[in-house]
């Protein structure tokens, strides 16, 4: 099994997207890069169609919420190159008032429900998505429950306050 290293992978990305790639990390050997929403589809297309990299498999799309930061909502893509047996994680952060990102359904049919799930829980609007509706929650729900401002439990409950745990 030929396997390309993360350096080679990063170099071939940087030859085309040098200025667009910000923040490169490698937690537990998985190359993680950050980019902007203007370049995300170009980057995904490049990764998918490049003859050497061949990231043909979309493993997952999900999101994360960091409140009180400049760009609180992050959309996270996990891709897998089955030929090279290497994975990559791509993050795109967007501002709170403008949670829009182009859809990846143009590249993978499987992105459809993953994006619906991300919309359902985080309110990320995937522009160009063929059928962006809620998927697991009820249709008339008005909030996006996985955002951090929505507490899981009754906020009046006092037995789980941090000071009981010395914090």
């Amino acid at each position: 099994m030929t396997k390309i290293t993360n350096e080679e992978l990063l170099n071939s990305i940087k030859t085309k997207f040098d200025n667009e790639v910000t923040s490169v990390t490698e937690p537990f050997g998985l190359l993680t890069i950050e980019t902007g929403r203007e370049t995300i589809i170009d980057l995904l297309t490049f990764l998918k169609t490049d003859a050497k990299l061949q990231f043909i498999f979309l493993t997952d799309i999900t999101a994360i919420h960091y409140p009180e930061t400049e760009k609180p909502i992050g959309i996270i893509y996990h891709l897998h190159s089955l030929v090279n047996n290497v994975r990559i994680r791509i993050k795109v952060f967007v501002t709170d008032g403008d949670v829009h990102i182009p859809t990846a359904t143009v590249l993978w049919n499987g992105a459809n429900w993953m994006e619906r799930e991300t919309y359902d829980f985080f309110g990320v609007v995937f522009d160009g998505h063929p059928d962006l509706r809620r998927i697991l929650n009820v249709d008339d729900m008005t909030v996006f429950p996985m955002r951090k401002e929505y507490p899981l439990e009754d906020p009046n409950r006092v037995d789980k306050r941090d000071y009981f745990f010395g914090r």
Binding site: P27, F57, T62, H78, R87, N109, G110, L152
Partner: protein
């Protein structure tokens, strides 16, 4: 996929009937709703609605220490919950940098492969039921019971197992568990062979399944299919081989692949996987015999609960017990993606940790959720009865679909 020869979209003569297949219908084996437009018995279009048993596991996970999340993973694919449990333990171990002893890895392989067999027994048995043969299902159910008895010996429960702990197992396997596993290995091959003989050359079964819901490799990949479904379409992607976890690299086994990606190929792939699982269990038993028999967990006092007698009589054990239960141990500030080969495909755990007592964000890549989205598009043009067996062969588990 077949196209109906008579019907066209613009035909004003056609009166379509609407059929609500589900949410509770005996033929769907779970809570699945599909609103189908039918022309006679042909499906013209369908819309899937899911989420009937959504329990917000990802949100709950953000409020629980790591060891309390295991019970949530049980309830995803409840036909093979040990695989989910192990996948979660291994994710946390990867984050914390815990190296498990070889014996723990091999014990886990036994449990995971037993779970895979029990899951495939259900799926292939139900496929028989939906094509009109109840015998195979009832006959094989006895062996699922045998597997559940092995679970009982190890962890005390049967369906939602909560088996194992971070770092290993809560207690060592007793000799009854090993005896039952060996007994299973001697009895099950005969039954599986008979089961195969009942179906794989049965004229009625072959006619009902061959060529039905055929999916080519390219389509399967574009829909992010994994597991037996992708392998039936001819792609030999198996997480156990590509990214070995729990010492799968020490084992000798084969990954069966199909050619047509139809219901029949999925049946054959699952059957062959059961044979391979038995090979894996046999090898694991042989390897365990060479390991010291008293090791069943890694030496990680920060995360592995001490025995109760020590908690009562030993100061250090009491401190560890308290710190673990209260979630006081600092954890790395990092993120990790770990995938295991679940019975339905790649079961992934994406864990973002900020060093607190609970995950900052936990996302489950649930194979059923991703596999099922193709169901409505691929049902177009299919006979209703074919769509039913197609759903059985997708082996969509409602708990994993909705999480």
């Amino acid at each position: 996929m077949r196209n109906h020869p008579v019907f066209t979209d613009n035909d004003p003569q056609t009166e379509l009937s609407t059929l609500n297949l589900g949410p509770t219908h005996p033929a769907t084996h779970g809570v699945f709703q599909n609103v189908l437009q039918l022309d006679g018995e042909r499906i013209v279009s369908g819309v899937s609605t899911i989420g009937y048993i959504h329990r917000a596991f990802e949100k709950i996970s953000e409020h629980r220490p790591f060891y309390q999340i295991t019970t949530l993973t049980d309830r995803m694919n409840y036909c093979s919950s040990p695989i989910n449990n192990m996948g979660w333990h291994m994710t946390v171990e990867k984050l914390l940098g815990i190296q498990t002893p070889k014996r723990v890895d091999y014990l886990r392989v036994i449990i995971m492969e037993l779970a895979r067999i029990s899951d495939h027994i259900i799926c292939n048995g139900v496929l028989g039921v939906d094509t009109g043969a109840f015998t195979g299902f009832l006959y094989m159910m006895k062996y699922r019971e045998d597997i559940y008895e092995i679970y009982e010996e190890i962890c005390g429960s049967r369906l939602t197992t909560n088996i194992g702990r971070i770092g290993g197992f809560e207690r060592n396997f007793n000799h009854i568990a090993f005896d039952k596993t060996r007994k299973f290995l001697t009895e099950f091959p005969k039954a599986l062979k008979e089961f195969e003989n009942l179906f794989s050359r049965n004229r009625i079964f072959v006619d009902r399944t061959k060529g039905v819901a055929a999916v080519d490799a390219e389509t399967a990949l574009s829909y992010s299919w994994t597991g037996p479904l992708l392998r039936a379409a001819g792609v030999d992607y198996d997480v156990r081989v590509m990214e070995p976890y729990s010492s799968y690299q020490d084992f000798d086994f084969e990954v069966p692949v199909g050619t047509n990606g139809d219901v029949y190929d999925r049946f054959l792939v699952r059957n062959e996987e059961m044979w391979q699982s038995m090979r894996l269990i046999e090898q694991a038993l042989a390897k365990i015999a060479k390991e010291p028999s008293d090791i069943f967990h890694a030496d990680v006092p920060d995360f592995y609960l001490p025995p109760k007698e020590e908690v009562y009589n030993n100061m250090e054990a009491l401190i560890y017990h308290f710190k673990i239960v209260m979630g006081e141990i600092p954890t790395p500030n990092s993120e990790v993606y770990h995938a295991v080969e679940g019975a339905n495909g790649e079961l992934g755990f994406y864990l973002v940790n900020d060093g607190g007592r609970t995950p900052y964000r936990l996302h489950f890549r649930r194979p059923s959720f991703i596999n099922y989205q193709m169901y409505a598009p691929m049902s177009r043009g299919m006979l209703l009865s074919d769509a039913i067996i197609n759903m059985s062969s997708l082996n969509v588990i409602a708990g994993e679909l909705d999480a």
